[in-house]
Each structure stands twice: as C-alpha cells, then as structure tokens.
Subunit: 214 residues, 2 copies
Amino acid sequence: MRMAELSRASGIPVATIKFYLRERLLPPGERTGPNQSRYGEEHLRRLRLIRGLLEVGGLSVATARGVIDAVDSELPLAHSFGVAQRAVSAHIDPGDIDAEALARVDRLIGGWQVSGDNPGRLAAARVLETFAALGQQDEGSWLPRYAAAALLVAEADLDQVGARGSREAMAETVVIGTVLGDALFSGLRRAAQEHVSTLRHPVPSEPDRPPTRE
Amino acid sequence: MRMAELSRASGIPVATIKFYLRERLLPPGERTGPNQSRYGEEHLRRLRLIRGLLEVGGLSVATARGVIDAVDSELPLAHSFGVAQRAVSAHIDPGDIDAEALARVDRLIGGWQVSGDNPGRLAAARVLETFAALGQQDEGSWLPRYAAAALLVAEADLDQVGARGSREAMAETVVIGTVLGDALFSGLRRAAQEHVSTLRHPVPSEPDRPPTRE
C-alpha cells in the first residue's frame, strides 16, 4: 500500500509516520519510484507496536528504538529479555546501593539464576533500601510473597512467549510483555487492593467512594 | 532539634528542607523565636518519606503532597488506598476505553469488589486494549495468572498494613506500599524473567551476558 493508505489503515497521520521513518522506528518501504514507496502488513503491525511502546508504555523515542532494534536483531531470546529490560529500566549503579539491601534481595530471590547486573535485582534492592530508611519492616513475609508472585507472573510471561510461532513474534511478545506487563500488573494490583481492603476494612456507610483529590 | 541538626540527621541540605516546608510537604516546626523553630523525630521520619516518594517513587512534588495529605487526614483506611492510588495513577477517562477491553478486565477480576472508577481497573483495560491492537492473544491463561498473582500481592500488602500499630503508620504503609510496591514488583519480575528464561532457553555458550545498549 501507499503512504496515504498506510495512514488510513493505521489511523496515524502521514506526518507522524514520516517522523517514525526518520527516527528509524519504522523500516523504509519498498522503493517504487523517485518519491514513492510501497508498504506492507509488516509496516502496519510495526506501527501498532510503536504506538503501544510510546503511548501506553510511555517510552521515549530513543528507548523505543532500542527496544525495536532488539526485536529485529538475531539475538538469542534470553538476550532480547536483557535488552528489553535494560531499555525500560532506570540505570542503577550497583556501587550506589547499600550492600545490606543487595544481600536482602539476594536472600529473597535465593536459588534464582540471575546475573549480578540484572536491572530488576538492582531496582528491587533500591526499594528495600528505601523501605529500611522508612522503617518499613517485613511483617508476615510481605516480601517473600512478592517474590513468589513475581515468579508466577514470569512463568506466565515465558509461557506466553513460548506459544508464539516465529522468533520475531516471540521477541515482540518479550518486548510488549516487558513494557506493558508492568502497567497491567500494577493496574490489577490496585483493583485487588480495593477488593481485599473492602473485605477487611468495610467503610461504615454513606460515602461509598473516596473523595477525589482536586 | 534545630534546622541545622535536622539537616545533619537526615542528610538533606537546609535549602531542600526549606523548599519542602514552603511546598507544605513537611509540617512547620514548633516556633521557638522570631527566626527559629524546633523539629522533632516526626520531622525526620517525614523527610525520609518525602525522599522515598520523590526519588525512589518518582512522584512530582504536587503528587507527593496529595499522598502526604492522605497520610495526615483522618480518612478511613479504605479511602487512603483510594487517594494513594489516584495520586500515583494517570487519570484515564472510562469513556476513552474500548467497551470490549473493559468487559475483558471485568471478566478477569470477576468476583472482586472493585468500584467502576478504580484507576487500576481502567489502567488494566487500557493495556488489554493495546494487547488486542498488537495481536497479543492470551495463550495458556497468561492474564488470569497475572490476576491471581495480583491478588496474592494485595493480600500481602493488606497484611503488612494490618500489622502496623497506629492509624498514621497504617496510612504511611498504604502510601509507601502503593508507590514503591510497583517498583519492587517490577524489579522482582525482571529478575524472575531472567531466571525462568535461563532455565528454558539456555544461551549456547560464550557471551554470558547480553550486550548492553549504548
């Protein structure tokens, strides 16, 4: 299809598509004339991925490009995870983290095969460091239950990846799952918090929902 | 203690503490002279909370103020959750979300007591809408396993809240858990993904970690 048709099919303005081409988020079409190219289904699919990463995932253009490069590369799948994880995680220098917090994370994920610079390990240690500074003790195995739930979700993620046909589709699922899975889980967690909180701490009566902050 | 001591004890520069006072993140100290105030342990504790919300939680000053107001208010606990959730969630207009995606979320969390405008329900629907646009089908009950894990985490969260002594400490835990729990879970999930991925898709040999994106 031509650029105008690609725009119509995707609902994305031509100027935006041209921007994605310039930013190398979208691969060029097939040249059919000095000022014309032809685009295929794979371009339409890629446009949807770009939109998902930028708008729902909240990634910057540069980060989205790194993630898309990982989808297109021939890296082994375990590496695609690493690239997607690094792309969407803030860089944390292990030297900046309290050794005690790192040791606590390592006890928490004891037995998992995780490299020392896994961005998730460092991010979790940063949170534990903050919990300690705020006097949040782990009562009733709060943290091990987080780790157990994270393992359940990661197994579901890998099953989902494994069910895809091609290497590219698998890498795409890795990327989509890494970027959007965080948003999905935190959304479901908030809904579950309201549910469990309502069961345990029923609100007396009348105002049947919290006042909205102005 | 005096301002200078509060700064030393917290490791936060005097200018920053004054900024937090002006922004009403930190309550004023007890006036002891025309240009002097005395601060107590509760100020030190509050400074740690502010730091956690701003630096590790990544909240804006305005959002942090809303969250801290919820800690200080006399709202029932179920309402503190609502306020904390709304403060850290992007506002989504239910009218902007595909009815089919909302119906899918509601099937996923069927049986939970969740209000229609729970920000997590709407955020999860937004993700499902994007999954559908990207052709991500749910294979092997990917999504129900997310919901089950979210319920485990929410129960752990509420146990943690319930183990705190005072109402203020409970509200503080609600806020800390809501803001930092997302970061903790996504960190643990990334570590678990590396673990499960390594078990299932062992990388042939030599390069024993993914190349870092420049």
